[in-house]
């Protein structure tokens, strides 16, 4: 029996385009190359490539089911493929190997020490802070730093639309330069590591709303095991930010908490199965302490008290005058502490040359900035 193009796992609009270009059945797509398909259907090359891959997958499945039991054919297409099971068993070994490396460096030594050895694997870490304090910057940095291990990669889920790839490249370039010239992390030869090879191991999802975020998280298990079978050991999953879509769409706290809870359970399962680290960024919200109108406003992490129990580690980023500081407020192993850090063109780093007076610091920051501008010009 011929299978309709409609049974493909692809965007609805793409299927429409396929149909209107005259591709009705799967076997018509078997010998087509992505470039040809893209020309015929006016689909993007990326999408065409995806469709061809799906056709091949489906064909393999069909052959297998025909061999075993033909009547299962229709349901087989919607089952997650079980082929990766043997591979994920062998990844247990890799899991233990990864456990030897205890964390992902933040780029700042002081911050790493406060957390133990960077952001830990196998746990969920939450980074909270006001807009502009550097949550996203730290998130990009962690994705890039997790790729310093040549076999490792990261998944970045962007819910705010704030990710700019040029900035990631800038940080990745700086990481390459720094690591070739000065030190050698974990004895790995970094001399030929390029920013392009780092960026190729970071996978980007853009989610517009809660539904998309939940769907992407639901399919992460499959995605990670697929990437592992291709030799990219995903080590870190970053969601930047978890708060934004939930606060924007779900005003009903009960519904919000229930969905957040299910989502975090799915993520926790991933940390256990693959030993990966999860980093979530969270916004801050104003809370009044005491009664109106005398109560003073202060800032607390968003998403409420129930959520606060879920992440294992909570880091709050704050301004202290002109200085960026990070406070560890929740950790199973380390004490509450405050350290300062800096964000430059090269990414997250220690605060260099601590100057006592705020004034001095401000002016030195200013002059270095104008210098940079002149260089740019």
């Amino acid at each position: 029996m011929k299978q309709s193009v409609n049974s493909l796992l692809a965007k609805h609009s793409s299927l429409q385009q396929l149909l209107s270009a005259g591709f009705l059945y799967l076997d018509e797509l078997e010998d087509v190359t992505p470039v040809e398909l893209s020309k015929e259907t006016k689909l993007s090359l990326e999408e065409s490539l995806h469709i061809i891959e799906e056709v091949r997958k489906q064909n393999r499945n069909n052959i297998q089911t025909e061999l075993s039991s033909p009547e299962l054919k229709s349901t087989d297409a919607i089952l997650p493929t079980n082929k990766t099971v043997s591979q994920s068993v062998s990844s247990l070994e890799l899991f233990w190997r990864e456990q030897e490396h205890t964390g992902i460096t933040t780029g700042s030594k002081e911050l790493d020490e406060m957390l133990g050895e960077g952001v830990p694997l196998g746990k969920m870490t939450e980074i909270c802070g006001v807009p502009g304090i550097g949550k996203s910057q730290l998130a990009f940095q962690l994705c890039i730093n997790s790729c310093l291990d040549r076999a490792a990669g990261a998944v970045l889920i962007d819910t705010e639309g704030s990710f700019v790839v040029q900035r990631a490249k800038q940080i990745a370039d700086a990481v390459c330069v720094e690591n070739t010239s000065t030190r050698d992390i974990r004895g790995v030869d970094l001399s030929i590591m390029t920013s392009q090879s780092i960026l190729s191991r970071i996978h980007y999802f853009r989610c517009q709303d809660v539904v998309q975020l939940v769907c992407v998280v639901n399919t992460l298990d499959e995605f990670i095991s697929e990437k592992r079978s291709e030799g990219n050991l995903i080590k870190l999953v970053v969601i930047d930010s978890i708060a934004f879509p939930f606060r924007m769409e779900l005003q009903d706290m009960r519904v919000r908490s229930r969905i957040l809870h299910t989502l975090s359970q799915t993520l926790m399962e991933l940390t256990q199965k693959y030993g990966i680290g999860i980093v979530l960024t969270n916004q801050m919200t104003s809370r009044q302490s005491g009664k109106e109108p005398v109560g003073r406003m202060h800032q607390v992490p968003a998403l409420g008290e129930t959520w606060a129990h879920i992440p294992t580690i909570r880091l709050i980023l704050q301004w202290s005058g002109p200085v960026r500081t990070a406070r560890l407020t929740k950790s199973p192993t380390h004490m509450e502490k405050v350290v300062s850090y800096e964000i430059t063109e090269r990414g997250v780093s220690d605060l260099i040359g601590k100057i006592g007076s705020k004034r001095g610091l401000e002016s030195s920051e200013h002059t270095s900035d104008t210098k940079k501008f002149k260089q740019n010009k």
Binding site: S7, S162, F163, H203, V211, Q212, N218, L250, H298, K377
Partner: protein, 356 residues
């Protein structure tokens, strides 16, 4: 489940799940009142099982295949290396001022919600007018497109059409080069014909225009940019009268509308905002002497914020032993995920904003 009904958007299961799920199962779900994919994705499985009389494992399977299909719309986990060097994620809109563009890496980034904050007379409207002109340039010139129209929502003042005319004329050399102007029209006529202006002085008025007028413009006139000058002006009544929680709800609703306009139509959305004095240092969200109005929630929804600052500087002239004041204007990037927090001084001349 009733709570999640408040989610907007979503698509019927029937359309998304076409051929993924058997028709009978979809009918069974629909007759139990579960028609939207978000009901399956976000609902609780035991609850849906009870209502639809489907088994939980069956529902988990359905959720999984729906998740897979929906996640195909989220960039497929593409490798970042495939997005460089010419990023397909964002575009740049020129500010119409070459030095400002070079500082911003080509212009303001879109899609995204961009705010220009500053005190009155600092040049916020000026910058908006410049953006309205460059929107109509071709994409190669960092415009949005030469046939694009502009939605300009004024909340405080009238649209300064005289100044707009001056600006167009001051840039005529450049504009003529990149735009074919019909013989029977002047350059100003050509550039101002696509600027559609509405006045909204309440939050409900603003919501109305965003809900009804913008989609119509987008459908009929090829919308290129939405400018709200200023957002604080539209929300002033809200902030005077309403209680805290109502205010918050309105703010989220408007933010959601503005953001979805930007991301759905892939165009820039620019708001201007007022500033208030940063009296108590308890607000750690801002470092400057002034902070933008509307508080923390509003700051959270922005993708970028630029601050324009104008201040009088007292100068003492030794020769004449006299004090004189000059105006110093500063442009700074306060919120951005790709630009450093930098400050430059600028002047405003006939051609617009110029960094010095």
């Amino acid at each position: 489940m009733s709570g999640s009904d408040r989610l907007t958007g979503g698509e019927p299961i029937k359309i998304v799940a076409d051929s993924l799920i058997q028709t009978e199962i979809i009918q069974q779900l629909n007759s139990a009142g579960i028609t939207d994919i978000k009901d399956i994705i976000l609902g609780s499985i035991p609850d849906i099982a009870r209502r639809s009389r489907l088994s939980e494992s069956e529902l988990r399977r359905i959720r999984h295949s729906l998740s897979k299909r929906v996640s195909l719309n989220c960039n497929l986990g593409i490798s970042l290396s495939l997005l460089t060097p010419s990023s397909t994620l964002q575009n740049k809109l020129s500010t119409g001022s070459a030095c400002l563009d070079s500082v911003l890496g080509g212009g303001i980034i879109y899609p995204g919600l961009v705010e220009i904050a500053g005190e009155s007379g600092a040049g916020k409207t000026q910058l908006c007018l410049q953006l309205a002109i460059s929107t109509q340039l071709p994409v190669e010139m960092n415009g949005v497109g030469s046939d694009r129209s502009i939605a300009y929502i004024c909340t405080e003042d009238h649209f300064p059409s005289m100044r707009f005319k001056e600006l167009v004329e001051a840039r005529s050399a450049l504009l003529y080069k990149h735009r074919q102007v019909p013989v029977d029209k002047s350059l100003f006529e050509e550039f101002s014909d696509r600027v559609y202006i509405e006045k909204a002085d309440t939050s409900s008025g603003l919501e109305h225009y965003l809900n009804r007028w913008i989609p119509k413009l987008a459908a009929e006139k090829k919308l290129g940019i939405v400018i709200v000058d200023s957002i604080a002006g539209a929300l002033r009544d809200e902030f005077m009268v309403n209680t805290n929680s109502l205010r918050t709800e309105t703010l989220w609703r408007i933010a959601k509308l503005l953001r979805s306009i930007s991301f759905n139509y892939n165009i820039p959305v620019v708001c201007t905002n007022q500033v208030t004095a940063n009296i108590d240092n308890s607000d750690l969200s801002s470092r400057g002497p002034n902070k933008a109005a509307l508080g923390l929630i509003w700051s959270n929804v922005l993708n970028e914020r630029y601050v324009l600052c104008k201040r009088e500087v007292l100068k003492f002239d030794i020769d004449e032993s006299e004090c004189s004041t000059t105006t110093e204007r500063l442009f700074s990037v306060e919120l951005s995920s790709h630009l450093p927090n930098i400050t430059y001084s600028y002047v405003i001349n006939a051609k617009g904003i110029k960094l010095v």
